[in-house]
């Protein structure tokens, strides 16, 4: 079942001589439960692609359909609510809310939606992340790896249609990096969660289902078999 469809996506910055085509007619689609990675050099357009798919940035042209809904045909307030309910984010620098504890950070998207958090679901996620003991800790009382796990929990709590992870292991050591990838893989398998991850680290693509490469704004689908080559 197709969850995400990106069609002829273009993103251009600047005009005239300073014009930069960050994305050139990018098209891709992802099915439910697929775990895909986007690789590419610095400045190739990976983050721009992720920002557009996450509706954080507006594309110059093209369409993004998530769960049958065109993201950019919605009004802004409507798009925000849609993003809150259907897209989970994991950032390189965690971006946790420093005044909320682990449990509150995880349930943050539900609170924004004025929904009553399901305690069982939170306990389940805390268990999966290995953070049950630290549920009342504030972000500054956690290690980098733990903070990123909280961010994963926050992305999972809504059971969104799509999780976007922007270099989730960029600030972590190799042990914590592997833990995070394992958690994402587990989530993808256990909750049939669609995940699109940007990474620099080719080694991390070993566990994903599909790999895309962005080069100079152009996307190439390397398919699942490419994992072996990249690894």
């Amino acid at each position: 079942m197709e969850i995400l469809k990106v069609h002829n996506l273009c993103k251009t910055y600047g005009k005239g001589e300073v014009r930069v085509d960050a994305l050139k007619n990018v098209s891709l689609s992802l099915n439910k439960g697929e775990f895909a990675a986007v690789v590419g050099e610095s400045g190739s357009g990976k983050s721009t692609l992720l920002n557009c798919i996450g509706a954080l940035d507006t594309p110059t042209s093209g369409r993004i359909i998530l769960d049958g809904q065109d993201l950019f045909s919605m009004k802004e307030e409507q798009r925000t609510v849609f993003r809150r309910r259907n897209i989970g984010f994991i950032f390189q620098s965690f971006q946790l809310v420093s005044e909320l504890n682990v449990e509150q950070n995880i349930m943050f998207p539900l609170l924004l939606d004025y929904r009553k958090p399901d305690l069982a679901a939170i306990n389940d996620i805390l268990g999966l992340l290995g953070l049950t003991e630290r549920r009342h800790h504030l972000p500054n009382q956690l290690s980098g790896g733990q903070q990123q796990r909280v961010a994963i929990g926050r992305a999972l709590i809504n059971r969104p249609k799509l999780i976007l992870a922007d270099e989730p292991t960029g600030n972590l050591d190799s042990k914590n990096s592997q833990d995070v990838i394992d958690l994402l893989t587990q989530a993808s398998r256990r909750y049939q969660q669609t995940i699109l991850m940007i990474t620099h680290n080719n080694n991390l693509t070993a566990s994903v289902d599909r790999v895309f490469r962005v080069s100079d704004g152009v996307l190439a689908d390397l398919g699942g078999g490419a994992n072996e080559i990249l690894s």
Binding site: E77, R84, Q95, V97, E99, L112, N140
Partner: protein, 778 residues
């Protein structure tokens, strides 16, 4: 770049937007201090000029000393100008052309530099037969003419006219009435041979010396008595040469105000610099990483503050000069009598120097905390890039009792105690300032504003009877220049039986205006009943007579006993009360019913603002041969009202500045607070926080500061208002203090409204920013 501090201008250019608020704060601090001192300076210059033109530029005059003593005094280094002055008043019996004249004798330097007089034509008399006469005589005599001054015994003395005097300065020589002739000492001997006149030795001291000390020394050296020495006290006071002098008082007030402004600005600049530093943690971490010591980082932040002073101080000064010109012009227009001599385009170098120094001091004090904060940034911040904006909270937000956005807003405001106190304190100080200074409004109203019932013109019956007919009242009322006419009927010394005892009483009728004006003095009962019903009266309280509403008074008028009922008791009356005579007010209908009189004893007239003496004369002409006398207070009341307006402009101007600072400061604080957490807001928006929720969160944070600030501000500000009110108003006029509900509501309303207003712009800025931009904001 040769020195690391040269990075300051480069960094300042890049962070121009972030530093805008700091620069505005410095401009504001310098501007306010310069305006206060500048205005004080202009006022004193005006006063000095006025005094110099009234009395001349002398500090002391000594009488009954010989030439040798005078020469010794003149030789002292403190004495700038000195000389003899002899003045014969018009009563001395000298005349010219049938009119008495005064004679003034002094050296030319005393005439010009001490009495500040000039000649319009010709030269100063320097021969015994030369004379200078008023320019007004130019129509009858010319230069070189010989005139004859007649002595009291009818003999004459002839003099040649050497010059014509500028008539406007004659009063300084000794008389404001009549003509003054100026002679040399020899000329005086010619005019009054053998006579001895009292001579005064005039002294003008150097402004740099301590004049009272110098004169004490002179007195001691030469054995002079108190009677021999008289001082130009007003001038000495203006020049700050006397204890409790006006210059000291005015500068003390300006200094206190300047300190308050400085404290407010220190808080404001410190707040904005703190936010500025918080936004650049990574930069300071990088500096530390590259080897900058804590001291170097502190020096860097201080130098940044001083760098902004380079443009902000001149801008504040320039603005202040223009505003002082404008205010001086406004004061001159509002009250010529008091402020006519304020300079038109005066520049106060004193205010410029002091505000520059205070501006730099403010910036140096304000940069202390941010500099320390910047120096505390760990080099790790740069390495890890973890510029956690709003780091290390100790307690999680309360998401159970509040919605998430409210919980985050309130928590963010209250989590860091020091910051919470600083921010609330900054809100509170504005409220305290406003409440403290708002007591001055009451002071100037009491001090300068004529009472609401104060008439410009009173028309009273010469016989103190009700002899002014109603037709005259009607004619006066029809005059277009009149605002209102209010009349009273009087029955004096009416025998009254009050509570079984006989007392003489004055029965007076009031009309609607007067009844309304005494409403504040009503202790019990009702004024409306007296106005509307017959035989109802108001009684003016007297502690020896226990009378209350509902009691009866029996009045004996025209040999008839009439009973009236007390409908109300007044605490006081604006009319003079004669001890032992009670005062009873009633309506005109009741008065006519009691006495049978239909005319009035007094008509009081209040004119419209632009009325002139011509309008007064027009009203007076209505009463030709009517057996009345007039008391014309128009010009006095108008002057008093103008003085009130002049001070009201200053007080309200100052209060407006406080309100402007409050609004600006709140906007600045909120904007800075938002700027400091751009990244965090970006992440929240990415996760799904809508713009509306974001606005609610910022409002909740700002409202937390505003509410706590208002509470603290009222807790301190209301007692401060009480202190100022009691010392300035209660102690002088006896008015009792009450909680200034309207003032408190006004300033708290302004604070809360500004808070709401302050949120608009940062929320709009965030809304216009894409989330990607927002997350990567520095």
């Amino acid at each position: 770049m040769k020195y690391y501090l040269e990075l300051v201008p480069i960094s300042a250019k890049i962070h121009r937007r972030q530093s805008k608020m700091t620069r505005i704060c410095i401009i504001l601090a310098v501007f306010l201090v310069a305006v206060m001192f500048g205005l004080a300076d202009m006022y004193l210059r005006g006063m000095t000029q006025k005094q110099l033109l009234e009395t001349g530029d002398w500090h002391y005059q000594i009488s009954s000393i010989d030439n040798e003593t005078a020469a010794l005094i003149a030789a002292r280094p403190e004495v700038e100008i000195s000389g003899w002055h002899t003045f014969l008043s018009p009563d001395a019996g000298y005349s010219f052309g049938g009119q008495t004249v005064a004679v003034s004798v002094q050296e030319q330097k005393v005439f010009e530099d001490i009495f500040l007089n000039t000649l319009t034509e010709g030269s100063y008399p320097n021969a015994d037969n030369e004379i200078a006469v008023p320019a007004a005589l130019k129509t009858t005599v010319s230069l070189g003419n010989i005139i004859e001054v007649v002595r009291s015994d009818g003999s004459v003395a002839s003099f040649t006219i050497a010059g014509f005097l500028d008539d406007s300065g004659m009063a300084r020589l000794g008389t404001s009435a009549g003509q003054v002739f100026v002679l040399t000492e020899g000329g005086l001997r010619e005019l009054a041979p053998g006579s001895i006149f009292e001579q005064k030795f005039m002294l003008q001291f150097s402004p740099l010396c301590n004049m009272p000390e110098t004169i004490s020394d002179i007195k001691a050296w030469h054995g002079l008595t108190e009677e021999q020495v008289s001082a130009n006290e007003v001038l000495l006071s203006i020049e700050g040469q006397m204890q409790g002098s006006s210059i000291k008082q005015i500068y003390q007030v300006a200094f206190i105000l300047a300190v308050i402004v400085m404290i407010t600005c220190i808080l404001m600049i410190s707040n904005s610099l703190n936010s500025n530093v918080a936004q650049r943690t990574e930069f300071f971490g990088m500096m530390r990483c590259l080897g900058a010591t804590r001291r170097q980082v502190m020096r860097f932040v201080r130098r940044e503050g001083l760098y902004w002073c380079r443009t902000a101080i001149p801008m504040g000064l320039a603005l202040s000069v223009v505003v002082v010109w404008f205010l001086s012009a406004a004061m001159r227009v509002i009250s010529r009598q008091w402020f006519a001599y304020m300079p038109t385009f005066g520049i106060s170098w004193f205010s410029i120097v002091i505000s520059t120094l205070l501006g730099i001091l403010t910036v140096l004090l304000a940069t202390r905390t941010p500099a320390k904060r910047a120096a505390k940034v760990s080099p790790l911040e740069a390495v890890s890039g973890s510029t956690q904006q709003g780091t290390s909270f100790r307690k999680a937000a309360n998401t159970r009792s509040f919605k998430i956005e409210t919980a985050l807003g309130v928590h963010h405001a209250r989590a860091k105690k020091k910051n919470y106190l600083l921010m609330s304190g900054a809100f509170a100080i504005c409220i305290i300032l406003f409440l403290t200074f708002s007591a001055l409004v009451g002071f100037i109203k009491n001090a300068f504003m004529p009472a609401v019932w104060e008439p410009d013109l009173s028309i009273a019956s010469e016989t103190n009877t009700c002899s002014i007919g109603h037709d005259l009242f009607e004619q006066v009322s029809q005059n277009n220049a009149i605002e209102r006419v209010y009349e009273r009927m009087f029955a004096y010394d009416v025998p009254a039986l009050i509570d079984g005892e006989a007392h003489p009483a004055n029965v007076i009728s009031y009309e609607e205006n007067q009844f309304n004006w005494v409403r504040d003095s009503l202790m019990e009962g009702s004024i409306d009943a007296v106005m509307q019903e017959e035989n109802q009266v108001l009684f003016v309280y007297n502690e020896s007579i226990p009378i209350h509403t509902g009691d009866s008074i029996i009045l004996s008028i025209n040999n008839e006993e009439r009973t009236v009922t007390v409908s109300g008791v007044l605490s006081e009356s604006s009319l003079a009360r004669i001890e032992g005579t009670e005062t009873i007010f009633c309506s005109e209908t009741t008065f006519t019913g009691l006495t049978g009189a239909t005319g009035y004893t007094i008509l009081d007239v209040q004119f419209k603002n632009r009325a002139t003496e011509k309008d007064v004369a027009a009203v007076e002409s209505i009463f030709a041969d009517s057996g009345v006398f007039f008391t014309n207070n128009l010009s006095a009341v108008q002057q008093q009202r103008k003085l009130y307006y002049a001070f009201a402009v200053l007080v309200y101007g100052f209060l407006s500045i406080i309100v402007a600072i409050t609004i600006f400061h709140i906007m600045n604080t909120i904007s800075m607070s938002v700027s400091a957490r751009m990244k965090q807001f970006g992440a929240m928006r990415a996760i799904g926080m809508s713009d509306r929720q974001l606005a609610k969160m910022i409002i909740a944070e700002a409202a937390t500061y505003a509410v706590s600030g208002s509470v603290i501000g009222c807790i301190i500000g209301i007692p401060m208002h009480w202190v100022v009110f009691v010392s300035l108003i209660t102690n002088i006029w006896g008015s009792s203090w009450s909680v200034p509900v309207a003032t408190v509501s006004l300033i708290v309303g302004v604070v809360l409204f500004s808070t709401l207003l302050a949120v608009r712009s940062p929320v709009k800025r965030l809304h216009e920013m894409s989330i990607v931009e927002n997350i990567s904001a520095q």
